[in-house]
């Protein structure tokens, strides 16, 4: 069981890297779905290992929210705004990869010294979870399309959930539900924003948001 968890963990990290280097919107959404499916699988394994009923609820939440609803919402937005074939250019892909790898090492450096009373592989997995979170953040910083930002944010959220799952066997139910609700609202707000941005700057390219600056016009 632990071996299986480790393998899936590695795959989740892989999806985080793919997301970072992906430049097609559809590819990103698909990779995100895969990441969420993997996360749901790990949660299921943990649920069996620890026999906690709350975790089965989490599995359900992930599937409904991140495998079905959010990708569906994004796809319909992409269709509605007609940006299916747009390609997001990534500047300096090589540097980005090096940076991403450095982030993973940094996470290991931080997490490995912690003594855990959990199981052997826990530290390893927490490090990866933290890396997934930070890679999501890197995605948010480097990609300039608003739609990549949703994926980046959701991927961050996946990393955080993953860390909580391994480190603490999931959070208390109230908190879990609260977070899921917040994520849902954030996703809807992203959708609202796309429409507003489209109407105001006629593009989803955040580089074109440059009206508010310090200097006198």
């Amino acid at each position: 069981m632990e071996l299986l968890t480790s393998i899936i963990t590695a795959l989740i990290l892989l999806t985080a890297f793919i997301l970072l280097m992906q430049n097609r919107i559809h590819g990103m959404i698909n990779t995100f779905i895969w990441q969420s499916i993997l996360l749901a699988t790990v949660t299921l394994l943990q649920a069996q290992r620890t026999a906690r009923i709350e975790l089965y609820v989490s599995v359900l939440l992930i599937i409904i929210l991140k495998v079905i609803f959010i990708p569906y919402l994004l796809r319909s937005l992409v269709y509605k705004l007609n940006i299916r074939h747009k390609v997001a250019e990534i500047k300096h892909p090589f540097l980005l990869l090096i940076g991403a790898a450095a982030l993973v090492l940094f996470c290991y450096h931080l997490i490995i010294p912690i003594r855990t009373l959990a199981w052997n592989e826990a530290n390893n997995i927490i490090a990866v979870a933290m890396a997934v979170m930070l890679l999501g953040m890197l995605l948010l910083i480097t990609h300039r399309k608003a739609i990549s930002h949703v994926i980046g944010f959701m991927s961050m959220e996946n990393g955080i959930f993953f860390a909580a799952l391994i480190a603490t066997q999931g959070m208390p139910m109230v908190v879990e539900l609260g977070i899921a609700f917040d994520v849902l609202i954030a996703a809807v707000l992203f959708g609202v924003f796309f429409l507003q941005l489209r109407r105001s700057i006629d593009s989803l390219d955040v580089d074109r948001l440059n009206l508010l600056r310090e200097d006198v016009e």
């Binding site: 931080l110 010294p113 912690i114 003594r115 855990t116 009373l117 959990a118 933290m130 979170m133 953040m137 948010l140 608003a146 930002h149 944010f153 961050m156 959220e157 955080i160 860390a163 909580a164 480190a167 603490t168 066997q169 959070m171 208390p172 109230v174 908190v175 609260g178 977070i179 609700f181 917040d182 609202i185 954030a186 707000l189 609202v192 924003f193 507003q196 941005l197 105001s200 700057i201 955040v206 948001l209 440059n210 009206l211 508010l212 310090e214 200097d215 006198v216």
Partner: protein, 483 residues
């Protein structure tokens, strides 16, 4: 006890009620009634607290002690006075067709929801719920910032949205790490996120984990406080949102974020028994204070000017809490109170000014005193108060911060003085031509400045005299923080 439930229930009921009210007049009135009732309920809660001491509620998920009680009462008070202002202000916006009826309904719903989320965050005992409510407050205000639907407003709210949700996601990670370090020792995972339990278990915490956690929490909640270098969203959001929203964001939301950070600082201090948290807060606080004082100089927009003043003051307050010790903490809390009152008053006045002048560019607003004496003098007084002239409360707090700083860290005191002078000069230099001089246009419409005047008078009173009840609460809260 019933007062506690009412304090939380009223804004919840208000949110649902506002969904159904389309008429602006009625909605504005209901807003006033509900928030006033909320303030009265919180006073009764304070009364209950003074008799019975700190208490837990709703299956230990909520907890009231002197620290959050103070901020809850402050929050309900400012939410109430701002509701009075918002009624007049929004009516004006609607009559000048700046805003549609549909958006006004959204505004009132979000106003109540925002108040609810702040109160839940403040009253939460469960650190997870604290986080959920903080995120909720952010999401509720995002649509308020973009209410006018101008290009600038949408840009500002997008920045606010994206930066704050990233920041706050990092804070969630920090919260999980704290839970992680606690849950290894506690057998009951259910109580592992409860502050009232954690505060007595800190000797079991893993120091490495707590260290990492605090850094994430500082970055996360620091983004919401507006600490440099995470402050980019703040001037945009404050300047583009409707005036009542700016007033609530600057006066209250940054306080709530600081409150959350201090809760974790208490845990970190107890677990590490060193000054890591203090030092980090001092560094980022002082950095924000200095950078904002410099950036104040080159502002061309009156709302942005005061946004930077917010960053400056929140930085100084963070610094004050970082100084540690009972006196500095006492002053920090007092400073939080007077800054909230003064800053929300300023945004109320500035909101009126901008609505009258139909522009927020400093160089286009002239001769306010001749045009609108009340607004002009109010703006001048508020500017002087926020830049710290005696005998107002801001002056008192800045003075004591300075004295404490001289005592412990004399070199930093020099930076403080330089910052005070720069901020004073920056504000006055920009505001002076706005209030004096010859008016360029003469437009008069209905304004609502009494909430601002009420706030400023309170700041004056607090600068001269602290009532015994308040002093007792402040001391008790400072005792909790420096335990």
């Amino acid at each position: 006890m019933i007062a506690f439930y009412l304090t939380l229930f009223l804004p919840l009921a208000g949110t649902l009620l506002m969904l159904g009210i389309g008429n602006l007049r009625i909605a504005g009135l209901c807003n006033i009634i509900i928030t006033t009732a909320g303030f009265i309920a919180s006073l009764f809660m304070a009364h209950y607290f003074l008799q019975h001491g700190s208490f837990l509620a709703i299956e230990q998920q909520f907890y009231i002690d002197a620290f959050n009680l103070l901020i809850i009462v402050l929050t309900t008070f400012v939410v109430m006075t701002t509701a009075f202002f918002s009624n007049t202000f929004m009516w004006q916006s609607a009559t000048t067709n700046r805003i549609s009826n549909k958006h006004l309904r959204l505004y009132h719903v979000m106003y109540q929801l925002f108040a609810l989320m702040m109160l839940v965050a403040l009253a939460a005992n469960n650190l997870g719920i604290l986080w959920v409510a903080m995120e909720g407050a952010t999401l509720a205000t995002v649509l308020l910032v973009s209410l006018y639907r101008t290009k600038e407003a949408i840009e500002a709210s997008w920045k606010y949205f994206i930066l704050c949700i990233i920041g706050i996601a990092l804070a969630l990670f920090g919260t999980i790490l704290v839970y992680f370090s606690a849950v290894q020792e506690l057998t009951q995972t259910k109580t592992g996120m409860l502050w009232s339990v954690l505060a007595y278990q800190t000797n079991h915490f893993d120091p490495t984990v707590i260290k990492i956690a605090f850094v994430f929490l500082l970055v996360g909640y620091g983004t919401k406080i507006g600490l440099v270098p995470l402050h980019n969203w703040l001037p945009d959001a404050y300047s583009e949102s409707p005036a009542p929203v700016s007033s609530l964001l600057s006066g209250l939301l940054s306080n709530v974020a600081l409150y959350a950070l201090i809760r974790f600082k208490i845990l970190t201090d107890l677990a590490l028994a060193n000054h890591l948290a203090d030092n980090l807060m001092m560094i980022f606080g002082l950095l924000s204070f200095v950078v904002a004082a410099i950036l104040l100089q080159r502002q061309y927009n009156i709302k942005r000017l005061f946004s930077y003043s917010s960053i400056e003051h929140m930085g100084l307050i963070t610094f004050t809490f970082g100084l540690g010790g009972p006196i500095a903490t006492f002053v920090g809390l007092f400073y939080m109170l007077v800054h909230s009152l003064a800053k929300s008053a300023i945004f109320i006045i500035v909101g009126n000014v901008v609505q009258q002048a139909k522009t927020s560019l400093l160089e286009q607003i002239r001769g306010l005193i001749k045009n609108q004496p009340l607004l002009g003098w109010g703006l001048l007084a508020a500017t002087l108060i926020i830049s710290g002239i005696p005998p107002f409360g801001i002056f008192t707090s800045e003075l004591i911060v300075f004295i404490t700083c001289v005592k412990f860290l004399p070199l930093l005191a020099i930076i403080l003085v330089a910052g005070f002078i720069m901020a004073f000069a920056g504000l006055l230099r920009n505001i002076q031509p706005v209030v004096y001089g010859e008016p360029t246009q003469t437009i008069k419409s209905k304004t609502c400045t009494w909430p601002a005047i009420l706030h400023l008078s309170l700041v004056l009173v607090l600068g001269l005299y602290i009532p015994p009840v308040l002093q007792q609460l402040l001391q008790e809260a400072a005792g909790l923080i420096t335990r």
